[in-house]
């Protein structure tokens, strides 16, 4: 029986294993050095915040793996011998495979800051990071202040986590406005204000110079690059992005750049070795996507796709329309299609924007200036229906069409206040159009195109 070995038990590896099992009775082994059972990395924050226990982050009960005949092996792969198809582990044991899937995910970036390996310096990625945080920041008596370096999604989540235990947080962000490489200014500004409203000391355009140690090798303070200011703190969170976790592939002959290089079939340069998820890097970007996409959904989709190939239905990885979501403290964010920030948008891309006068609610619709084709939407504080936007994007609808039928796309809970009328009124006013909002129609929403 063919033996499929998967290194990494995150969403990519586990999805691949599940789908291979659905379609075959191949022998499957998942290797992890982090935890025995699959858990949802995105939910680690909720464990620290007390919304959940760690066991709640595990989407499958412990019996699931035996029942589905998926072997779980703990161990750290230190070397891959692709000629003989053998994995060598740190403890010198070995395991042979017929097909190998590398799904080792990412690790937090460290940019060579002095003091970056001190006790109390941590990322927020692995289960071990959570354990460290529990050790170094159990409450605001042990941790009198924490400094977070890097203004991305993990950074703001870490800030929210620490604030849930009333630990004072200073948040250093390199950019002049939060996440403005991704978000349009209106939205970035909204988040800036929201961060401040949550009593987080947000320092924009600020870089870390060094982390200082006390006499026991623990964090004592940090120094800010621009001003030289010293901020005393007990924990430093490094959340300046992630990088593929592939150091163990050196000398394996598997071609890598920042990540493991793969073609559209997620194959590496070596036969029977594949890579999926955060650690995979496409030779050529797909559409407007990045070559490496460290996103939950893409990891899952690569797992779904590769399982088909492994089960003799060779299938190319073809992600559909881009979508994503996140939550910034209390503000939910969703995006469908492409909305680039002012910094990154093309010349033909225009915005239509609407913002609620008081609440943290706003949208940006990106469209083609010339053809009025709808390109993408960002919503803050409004939930939208994935299926509808996916359909509109596939149909190359215009922004006028999107606005006219916007009620169909709303996904907020029942009885929520709806803003389509205000949104469309603003568009009509700005563009001298006369779009009438259509009533929501179940028929349109649930009709399969």
């Amino acid at each position: 029986m063919e033996h499929i070995v998967i290194i990494g038990n995150g969403i990519s590896g586990v999805t691949a294993a599940r789908h291979i099992r659905k379609n075959s009775d191949k022998k499957i082994t998942i290797i992890s050095a982090e935890t025995k059972y699959f858990f949802s990395r995105t939910a680690l924050m909720y464990v620290y915040m007390g919304h959940m226990k760690f066991e709640h982050t595990q989407p499958y009960e412990n019996w699931f793996w035996d029942k589905n005949n998926i072997n779980l092996k703990s161990g750290f792969v230190s070397k891959i011998n692709t000629d003989d198809k053998i994995l060598e582990f740190k403890d010198t044991s070995t395991l042979s495979y017929d097909k190998l899937i590398i799904a080792t995910g990412s690790k937090p970036n460290k940019f060579g800051w002095p003091g970056q390996d001190l006790d109390g310096v941590l990322g927020m990625y692995h289960k071990q990071d959570l354990e460290n945080l529990e050790k170094f920041a159990p409450n605001n008596k042990v941790c009198k202040r924490a400094v977070i370096v890097g203004g991305g999604l993990i950074g703001i989540e870490l800030a929210e986590m620490l604030r849930s235990r009333k630990i004072p947080v200073t948040f250093l962000v390199r950019e002049a406005s939060f996440w403005n490489g991704v978000l349009p200014a209106q939205e970035s500004e909204l988040i800036n204000k929201h961060i401040a409203a949550h009593h987080i000391d947000l320092r924009l355009s600020t870089n870390l110079k060094e982390i200082k140690s006390d006499e026991n090798g623990k964090v004592k303070s940090i120094i800010i690059e621009e001003t030289g200011e010293e901020i005393p703190c007990n924990v430093v969170g490094l959340t300046a992005g992630v990088t593929p976790n592939i150091d163990f592939l050196k000398d394996s002959g598997i071609e890598t750049k920042r990540g493991v290089l793969v073609n559209r079939f997620l194959e590496t340069n070596i036969t029977d070795v594949y890579a999926i998820g955060d650690c995979a890097e496409q030779h050529e970007a797909i559409g407007q996507r990045r070559n490496i996409e460290a996103v939950w959904y893409t990891g899952r989709m690569m797992g779904e796709t590769l399982a088909q190939t492994i089960c003799n239905k060779k299938t190319a990885y073809k992600p559909g329309h881009w979508f994503n979501s996140a939550k910034f403290l209390d503000i939910e964010y969703q995006t469908y299609g492409w909305v680039f920030s002012e910094r990154n948008k093309q010349e033909n891309e225009a915005y239509f924007q609407w913002q609620h006068p008081k609440e943290n609610i706003c949208i940006t619709i990106s469209y083609d200036k010339n053809s009025t084709k709808f390109l993408g939407i960002n919503t803050f504080g409004i939930r939208m229906r994935h299926e509808i936007f996916d359909k509109w994007l596939s149909e190359n609808q215009s922004i006028e069409h999107v606005l006219e039928y916007l009620k169909d796309a709303n996904f907020d809970p029942e009885f929520y206040k709806l803003y389509e009328a205000e949104i469309v009124a603003k568009f009509n006013q700005e563009n001298n159009t006369n779009i009438q909002v259509k009533k929501k129609s179940w028929k349109r929403i649930f009709s399969k195109a």
């Binding site: 939910a43 909720y46 007390g50 919304h51 989407p59 209390d330």
Partner: protein
């Protein structure tokens, strides 16, 4: 603000302590004359009960309720023992006439209920003399303290949004010592209420004036329960309003259950009594209202004329037509989390415990077996009851209808719905009864699963498997297991509380009523992945 909150807690605990301590206060005794009047009222024919009771409770001594109760129960037991001995004696002498005569002297009823009735007339002391003040020191302080504890959260909890910080770090909500204490308190309360009402007679005194004001009668332990139920729900609804103030669905739903509890379950039935109509809760549908078709109930309804007949017809139409039709359009939530009293308590008092429901596959299996067994039980019992009603035969296939009714009332009506159903909130989550026991929920579940427009829609491929939805599902549904596969949730047990949707950080879940077509949507590959599906299907 914190100070107000802490003071509130102290005030609440003082109120609670006085409430509990009040059980041990008061003197209970009768005068000869009062006793004679009572026995005449009850029409007891036993020649020795008067003597026995007189010995036990006509006294200058200060009897507390426990001494009083044991005296009364002894007296009734002695009286019945006496006649049982005579029955045995005449039986052995084969003196059938004499034997038959003895039965009229026996006194029926549960010992603690008999004792409750007497105690309700026999009490003297601080509570009966200063009921208003005593009410304030118990209920009053409890309410004020609880509100002082809850209301500062408007500020302390910060901006509107999901407020689940620290739930699994707190001894109150994570089955810690406070949770276990609450468990013991609630279980004890229900055991006293159902089986030892005489022990809580002092609490009943507290609400006498309110009962007299509404229905004109002195309070029973059931009035106390109804009043307490409304008070607890109201106070805890304030907590819901604050916790979910960003979520209009939760606000409206809370208002709705509160309205139906106070007006339909509490006020209307009591007012009906004032107008000498049968006590009836118009929203309480059979088979949750399990004694609706008992002979005594049907007899009583028929005896009370046109209005009674209206209730009889309404009760039948409610169960057979209104309830299922509404479930078709809105799902069972319209009943379970918008109207029902049990649901109302679960969604207010029980909300802090929702995360403690078990999500395992095993518990789902147990749930299906148990809840459907209760449904079968109630249906069999009801067919017995109807048979008895129409034929006047008091047994079917050699089994007494009364016995079956008594067993159901004890096991399901009292132990399961009350002691376990509410008492176990802090340990097994707030929907123990609704999930494992309620026969009406089982019935609505069938409709919801197989013929309804209701579903929880999963938003394409947006799920990140974080598990908030499953954790906070009070019904123990593993919501995530559907959401992460892109499948809608159409489970029969879902009561539509809407919390899964509220706690989802990615806007994945929406409760909605739509066309039946496409309501159940098994998916191979989630939305967002454009692998060629037709190709996949063809190759299979």
């Amino acid at each position: 603000m914190k100070l107000i909150k802490q003071t509130g807690l102290i005030v609440f605990l003082i109120g609670l302590s006085i409430f509990i301590a009040s059980l041990f206060t008061g003197n209970f005794s009768f005068t000869e004359k009062e006793l004679e009047t009572y026995i005449a009222e009850k029409g007891y024919k036993s020649e020795i009960i008067k003597n026995e009771l007189s010995k036990a409770i006509v006294t200058e001594e200060n009897l507390n309720i426990f001494q009083f109760s044991s005296g009364v129960i002894n007296a009734f037991e002695n009286s019945n023992k006496h006649y049982n001995a005579l029955i045995a004696k005449y039986n052995s002498e084969k003196n059938w006439t004499k034997k038959g005569e003895q039965y009229q002297y026996k006194i029926g009823g549960k010992p603690h209920s008999l004792s409750f009735e007497l105690a309700k007339k026999a009490g003297k002391g601080f509570i009966t003399e200063n009921t208003g003040l005593a009410w304030f020191l118990t209920f009053g302080l409890g309410i004020i303290g609880a509100l002082m504890f809850i209301v500062p959260d408007v500020v302390l909890l910060g901006k509107p949004g999901i407020k689940n910080d620290g739930i699994f770090l707190s001894a109150a909500t994570n089955r810690g010592w406070i949770g276990w204490f609450a468990f013991i308190f609630l279980v004890t309360f229900y055991i006293l209420l159902y089986f030892y009402p005489d022990f809580i007679v002092n609490w009943v005194y507290l609400v006498d004036p309110i009962s007299k004001f509404i229905s004109g009668n002195a309070a029973s332990q059931w009035f106390l329960y109804g009043f307490l139920y409304c008070v607890v729900m109201t106070v805890m609804a304030v907590r819901m309003y604050i916790k979910y103030r960003h979520n209009k669905y939760q606000i409206l739903r809370t208002t709705s259950v509160l309205f139906f509890q106070i007006v339909f379950a509490f006020l209307i039935p009591e007012i009906l009594v004032r107008f000498e109509k049968p006590w009836y809760d118009f929203k309480n549908a059979f088979p949750l209202d399990y004694d609706f078709f008992f002979k005594w109930n049907i007899d009583e309804l028929i005896a009370s004329g046109g209005f009674g007949l209206f209730i009889l017809v309404w009760g039948i139409v409610l169960t057979i037509v209104i309830v299922p039709v509404m479930v078709y359009f809105f799902g069972k939530r319209w009943y379970c989390s918008w109207v029902c009293g049990c649901g109302g308590l679960a969604e207010t008092l029980g909300d802090p415990y929702r995360q403690n429901s078990s999500k395992t596959l095993l518990s789902w299996r147990v749930e299906r077996i148990v809840i459907h067994s209760v449904l079968v039980f109630v249906l069999v019992m009801t067919s017995f009851a109807l048979y008895t009603f129409f034929t006047e035969a008091n047994q079917v296939l050699g089994i007494k209808t009364q016995t079956i009714q008594d067993i159901y009332g004890f096991l399901i009506g009292s132990i399961f719905a009350g002691v376990i159903g509410t008492g176990f909130y802090p340990i097994f989550g707030n929907r123990v009864w609704c999930r494992f026991g309620c026969p009406l929920a089982a019935y609505l579940g069938f409709v919801q699963r197989f013929k309804s427009r209701f579903r929880i829609t999963t938003n394409g491929g947006q799920c990140i498997s974080c598990g908030n939805c499953s954790t906070y599902c009070e019904q123990g549904i593993d919501v995530r297991s559907y959401a992460q596969k892109g499948e809608n949730i159409v489970r029969s047990s879902c009561v539509g509380c809407g919390v899964c949707s509220a706690v989802c950080p990615r806007g994945v879940l929406k409760l909605e009523n739509g066309p039946e077509d496409g309501r159940i949507n098994p998916t191979d590959v989630l939305l967002g992945n454009d692998v060629d599906l037709m190709n996949l299907v063809n190759k299979k």
